[in-house]
């Protein structure tokens, strides 16, 4: 024992009679001693511990503090920031986990704890947990909403493909696009599709394709691989870039059973890159067939139209007016003659009646004529003022005219008699 202990023992012996024969230690001495003991135990230097996470706390310093517990017991754990940053999932209370690390003593608190170097979900892989967690988060943020999904162009003019220029995927896609619809141009935006750089490159290429409108449709994906290989397409950055893309995006990752977060966010999910190419463009053979069909349908419609017109013409042509072009004129002429006749009849009748009336009027006029009266021996006397009806009208000496049945007399009045 070091000298310090000896001094300590001496001192205590004087003060506390009861413990005379036992050494007395400082708290820190004890903790250091225990720490030295534990640190010397090889098993505790790299140990895996299974338990349930509880009381999980992330401090502003970036260190994670939590407790691993089972039915009967609990173990305090700490994970420093540098290790915590490497976590691929978000630890949550209640989660079954396996922690790896070393057991040591935190002298200040006199507590031993697990200094955690790594943590992974128990039973399922950490990637599986991370996948579920991101999926739940983005679902909550409505990144998978059907309403947000954009329709694909029916006949893309230029397809932007964000994938590796080296893999089989690009060649599969090009082959199918070439076979189905070579009219669509293809612009490849080469990116790494696995490794730590991949998510940023994929997300960047999707944004770049939008910014420069390098096509009217984006296909992003890669060929099959392990979950780790496909991991870039489960990255939140890629998911957000797809969500924010104004160009429609087809996600084409791995094989049929592989489902990635990109598949959920994309406007259309293709099961494989080849499938994406099939979805992206129409089959030109079908299109050509349709075009031919359209020509036939038009010809048929036109034929029917003409037939219909012909039939209508036929019906019209069979009417008399159309058969005999003069018939119309003749009809009209007959009508005209008839009208003239009628008009003639009418006028004749009317003139006759008028003539008769005129004769009778003329007769009575004749009967009343003063000439007729004069003819019977009467005379009419008049001066410049008019016909004389009184002796007073013509004073003696004035001149009057006397009209007779034949001729007249110029006279001077000798004398008037009342």
């Amino acid at each position: 024992m070091p000298a310090l202990f000896f001094v300590q023992i001496q001192k205590n012996r004087k003060e506390e009679g009861a413990f005379v024969d036992q050494p007395v230690y400082q708290v820190s001495q004890v903790n250091e001693y225990v720490k030295a003991l534990l640190d010397g135990e090889p098993i505790l230097q790299d140990i895996l511990v299974r338990g349930e996470l509880s009381n999980y706390k992330v401090y502003p310093s970036g260190h994670h503090y939590f407790t691993l517990k089972d039915k009967d017991s609990a173990l305090r754990c700490v994970m420093f920031r540098s290790q915590a940053q490497r976590l691929r999932f978000r630890p949550e209370n209640g989660m079954k986990a396996i922690a790896q690390g070393r057991i040591s003593v935190f002298s200040r608190d006199g507590a031993y704890q697990l200094y955690c170097g790594g943590l992974s979900p128990d039973g399922v892989g950490d990637l599986a947990v991370a996948f579920e967690q991101l999926k739940a988060k983005l679902l909550e943020e409505r990144l998978f909403d059907e309403a947000h999904k954009k329709p694909l162009p029916r006949y893309p003019r230029r397809i932007a493909i964000v994938t590796s220029s080296a893999g089989a995927a690009i060649h599969d896609m090009l082959r199918i696009l070439r076979r189905r619809f070579p009219a669509a141009e293809v612009a490849l935006l080469p990116v790494r599709v696995q490794g730590v750089e991949a998510p940023a490159e994929i997300a960047g290429a999707i944004r770049y394709a939008n910014r420069w409108k390098v096509g009217d449709l984006i296909i992003t994906g890669r060929g099959g691989g392990s979950m780790e290989d496909l991991w870039a397409f489960n990255d939140e950055r890629v998911a957000r870039a797809i969500y924010e893309s104004e160009l429609p995006v087809i996600s084409a990752v791995g094989h049929e059973p592989d489902v990635t977060i990109s598949d959920f966010v994309a406007d259309v999910r293709a099961s494989t890159p080849s499938n994406a190419a099939e979805i992206a463009v129409p089959d030109q053979m079908e299109l050509l067939r349709w075009l031919r069909g359209a020509g036939e349908r038009m010809a048929q419609a036109e034929e029917m139209k003409l037939e219909l017109c012909r039939r209508r013409l036929q019906t019209l042509a069979e009417k008399r007016v159309m058969k005999d072009q003069l018939a119309f004129v003749q009809d009209r002429r007959m009508l005209l003659t008839h009208l003239q006749q009628r008009l003639g009849d009418l006028s004749e009748k009317s003139v006759g009646a008028k003539r008769q009336k005129f004769s009778s009027l003329a007769a009575s006029l004749d009967a009343m004529s003063p000439l007729k009266v004069l003819g019977r021996g009467y005379a009419v006397a008049r001066n410049e003022q008019g016909i004389l009806k009184s002796y007073r009208d013509a004073p003696p000496g004035s001149r009057i005219e006397v009209a007779l049945g034949e001729g007249s007399l110029e006279c001077t009045v000798e004398k008037g008699r009342p």
């Binding site: 060649h171 612009a187 420069w212 038009m298 419609a301 017109c309």
Partner: protein, 85 residues
């Protein structure tokens, strides 16, 4: 040649859409005879130009690289599959 020019300036999609419209209109049969003849002519022209475009199309593939000013630069991309006969 005005009609031809019009077809060229339309996208393939617009041409197909117009053709669909023409066929539907003609099948409905309510157009005047002169109009339907004009539609028939236009439709035939569209079928010809779309068919030609499909028949003559050759896949064009480019590799895009970000240029010095940020704008995409088109580079050739070898579409032949290596080692795969």
């Amino acid at each position: 040649m005005a009609g031809k020019k019009k077809e060229d300036s339309q996208t393939f999609e617009q041409q197909i859409a117009r053709l669909e419209e023409i066929v539907a209109r003609m099948e409905k049969g309510d157009a005047e005879l002169a109009d339907s003849l004009a539609l028939f002519d236009e439709g035939t022209g569209l079928i010809h130009s779309c068919g030609k475009l499909l028949d003559e199309a050759e896949q064009k593939v480019v590799r895009l690289m970000k240029g010095a000013d940020g704008a995409p630069v088109e580079l050739p991309f070898d579409t032949e599959e290596e080692a795969d006969g």
